[in-house]
Symmetry: C2
Subunit: 335 residues, 2 copies
């Protein structure tokens, strides 16, 4: 991706991508080469409900349009990525579990289009992240890849033959709800032993709290001043980086479950690359070797494990917004 | 598919498909509409080694060519499907575990082409079955589907956006080696708790033998004249059809594991259809309801379960040979 800040030429075109999450709304304005002209990151404040949130999105769009950098360029289209279940064809947010109030069957695209006077397109946020990484991030030039985002939840996206794959109802990629241990812990979805129930941020923290409470010898207790509710993935990461055995064991466990999930994806889909993104991926260097160990112990039929590229996402927190802008680009180029 | 036996017209074209399995070599000659003109099924006798087996294949091809039905038609190409790992580009059988002697790195396509004077193309047998079902069987007109073959092993094939999907190394679809129970029984592949180790024909029989030995009340013992080595899936099927509770329990267990595997495929790939083929699929009516029950208990995020089409294969034992012929067709139409 090119860096921003160069002189803007006349008659250039740009796309806006918005990533609507439970905590923040992130937005970027990019051209078709992935050059970022503007960025914005503001709190979602979802407690004020959908109309207020949509007004915030519109104000970012207006802000971009009138900014010095973009005032002489033409906005072609807007992509909106949201954390939840979407009807892409109708542009409707069916259910956004991370947003507080009223996000059920909200026709966000109609409203954005009306208020912005631009064409807009809806996509799930993890599929957008995947599209971003495939187009301008770690997955450039790769035909078959799977992107896994590790955070409060575990999401995913699948690229097949160079194209993002949505499945027959547009919901393919729910990698976090693969069942890894049929009799494992209850998942928020209602099933048991899903990858998300075993390896999400909250699952990692629960495991840490449990082990610290059991009295294991660890510096984690000191790092949170004895307040175990303060344990988060970053604390466990810091402890591991200081060589804390308990913290290392927790990351090994995390990698073990991820390794099982990835093993299953490898035998079914034989991708060339697995991209790990999301908040927890910042600890990727603690995860990659034990993930590979599990894969080597588990995959004997099919893919050549040595050829697999297991990499960290490149676009970071902007991947979803960038992917949303690409989604607008792809839809408009079809017409 | 049309039935055979009509008057052959001049200048018609046909393709030969050969399915080379551990027990039998099956072959068909079909036109581009899937009309079958000739069929052949002979024992593989793999103990005589690759050259003898390849001679058998050539003799079938010669036999077809000189048959009355095909003598005035033109052979366009040959597809060879094999049970094992293949290098499709090089036309080499890398490893065929079900064939007895010497099937390691055998350049079968070079030999078939030389001896038949026709273009030939290699494909894995389950991918060929999937292609057959997609083109002329249960999957006609379906864009995204997964075909699972249940037999001595468990294989699979994935159709994405109307095309058979091979993955980055040509080995996608190894559904039998998804890990369903990480601490489950040892699989022949070297891992543990693979679907194949839990739900293949041999796994089903082991379970039956174990339960019968434990003295459960069942008619299975009578059906095999007290010789438990005679227990095969058909015996367990017959017992279940007579209402035998133990046999029904064994099928429920089979369906449970298949349901878990299918649940994982649904959340990741959101296919419109799952096709169940292979020997055990003859008991499909015993499996479908309990499979659906497991899926309903396990899939809460993503696909709408009520929209899923769970069906039995339509082409039966010829699916692999028909798919091999289609594989030749597809490759030749590219050029």
């Amino acid at each position: 991706m090119e860096s921003s800040g160069e002189t803007v030429q006349l008659k250039q075109y740009y796309y806006i991508g918005v990533d609507l999450g439970g905590t923040n709304i992130k937005a970027v304005a990019i051209n078709k080469h992935g050059k970022i002209f503007c960025e914005k990151n503001i709190p979602t404040e979802s407690e004020y409900g959908p109309p207020a949130v949509i007004r915030k999105i519109i104000s970012i769009i207006d802000n971009f349009k009138t900014s010095k950098k973009l005032s002489k360029m033409k906005l072609v289209g807007i992509g909106i990525a949201v954390a939840g279940v979407v009807d892409m064809d109708q542009g409707v947010c069916k259910f956004l579990p991370n947003l507080l109030t009223g996000w059920k069957d909200i026709p966000i695209i109609t409203q954005i289009e009306k208020q912005s006077n631009s064409k807009a397109f809806l996509i799930n946020d993890v599929r957008a992240t995947t599209l971003g990484e495939k187009t301008f991030g770690a997955g450039q030039g790769v035909e078959n890849l799977i992107c896994i985002t590790l955070g409060t939840g575990i999401g995913g996206g699948v690229v097949i033959n160079g194209q993002i794959y949505f499945g027959s109802e547009g919901v393919a990629g729910e990698i976090g709800h693969q069942i890894i241990e049929p009799y494992g812990p209850r998942c928020t979805c209602g099933s048991r032993g899903c990858l998300e129930a075993l390896a999400s941020g909250p699952a990692l923290c629960s495991q840490a709290i449990k082990l610290v409470k059991q009295g294991s010898d660890t510096i984690i207790r000191d790092l949170v001043d004895n307040d175990l509710n303060k344990i988060d993935p970053l604390v466990v990461e810091n402890a591991a980086r200081q060589g804390d055995m308990l913290a290392l064991e927790i990351w090994e466990r995390e990698a073990y479950y991820l390794g099982l999930a990835i093993a299953n994806l490898l035998v079914v889909l034989n991708p060339e690359m697995i991209i790990i993104g999301g908040g927890i991926s910042k600890a990727a260097d603690l995860l990659f070797e034990p993930i590979k160990k599990t894969i080597r112990q588990r995959v004997f039929v099919g893919p050549d494990i040595d050829k697999l590229k297991l990499v960290r996402s490149k676009l970071g927190d902007e991947a979803g917004a960038i992917g949303a802008a690409i989604w607008a680009m792809l839809n408009l180029s079809k017409k």
